[in-house]
Chain length 148, copies 2
DNA sequence: GCCAAAATCATCCGAAAGGATGATGTCGAA
DNA sequence: TTCGACATCATCCTTTCGGATGATTTTGGC
């Protein structure tokens, strides 16, 4: 949370500084309140939404997903297996993305972490699943009903 | 999304109107830019975060639609897809082994060909399926009913 | 506030995978 | 017999994976 506070502080400061600088140089000051107000509002609304999204991002992976495959019933994650293997939510999330065929880099980009982080998650996951390769991890994951 | 735009518009208008009203009555106009900027920033950041939270919360309320086809029916390879993509039997065979999590070397050993051969089969397969990685090939293969 | 689990990131290094290309060999159809 | 599809193998080179290790930061409970 500290990071966020800092972020806001800095951002606010920057915006205000920018406004001051601009005010005395290029823009007419008439009706500036509306203009600047709108500007600030827009910027902070954007940042706010972004932040809000980030805050809750992947809060819980317990969401049950439905599959379009017309041959199988709804997927229900086997919580027992998850607990027995000690697989964390993040690891599950990444396993799913691997099953979708993403590379480590792509996974990092979609969940907003570095490729390195993805790799460490994977290392641990492999160990927990007893897998030597990502394809094997996917196979085991499906077998144990960790992923659809 | 229209609702959000409207919401923001109205809110922005309200805030600015409020500011105007206040400006001419109670507050000193000196340094008002900073004060109002901060105010607007705070308000919109809050609203933004709140909105962001709402957005993701809604996303988590995923509905579970489901098809009621009987449990596992035997797998039937989609010959049409196979023909359409021009995938050869050997390539299919290897794709299945990949889906089981085998490495190229292991596949070569189980099918009695060299690792190099496996690789060329795979290269062609990837091209036909439009896959960049083996995991992706497996995903596509399952999707198109080339493999169970 | 403190602690443990989870998540984050990095670096080094070897192994595996993937791309590009060329060369045989086999077999069935034209 | 010639041609084309399929299968086989190789070499060179780049990218991606995965293992090992160490470290910091968040976070949830107590």
């Amino acid at each position: 949370m500290k990071k966020h506070v800092l972020l806001y502080g800095t951002l606010g400061g920057a915006v205000i500084a920018l406004l001051k600088a601009v005010e005395y140089r290029y823009l007419v000051v008439e009706h500036s309140v509306e203009i600047y107000g709108g500007l600030i509002a827009a910027v902070f609304a954007t940042v706010g939404i972004w932040l809000g999204l980030r805050l809750t991002r992947a809060k819980e992976t317990i969401v049950i997903r439905e599959v379009l495959t017309p041959a199988h019933s709804a997927f229900v994650r086997d919580a027992g297996q998850v607990a027995a293997l000690g697989v964390t939510p993040r690891e599950l999330e990444i396993l799913e993305l691997i099953a979708r065929g993403l590379s480590n880099r792509e996974i990092g980009q979609t969940v907003f972490v570095s490729e390195n982080t993805v790799k460490t998650h994977l290392s641990r996951l492999f160990e927990k699943l007893g897998a030597k390769r990502r394809t094997q991890a996917v196979q085991i994951g499906k077998e144990r009903r960790l992923i659809p």
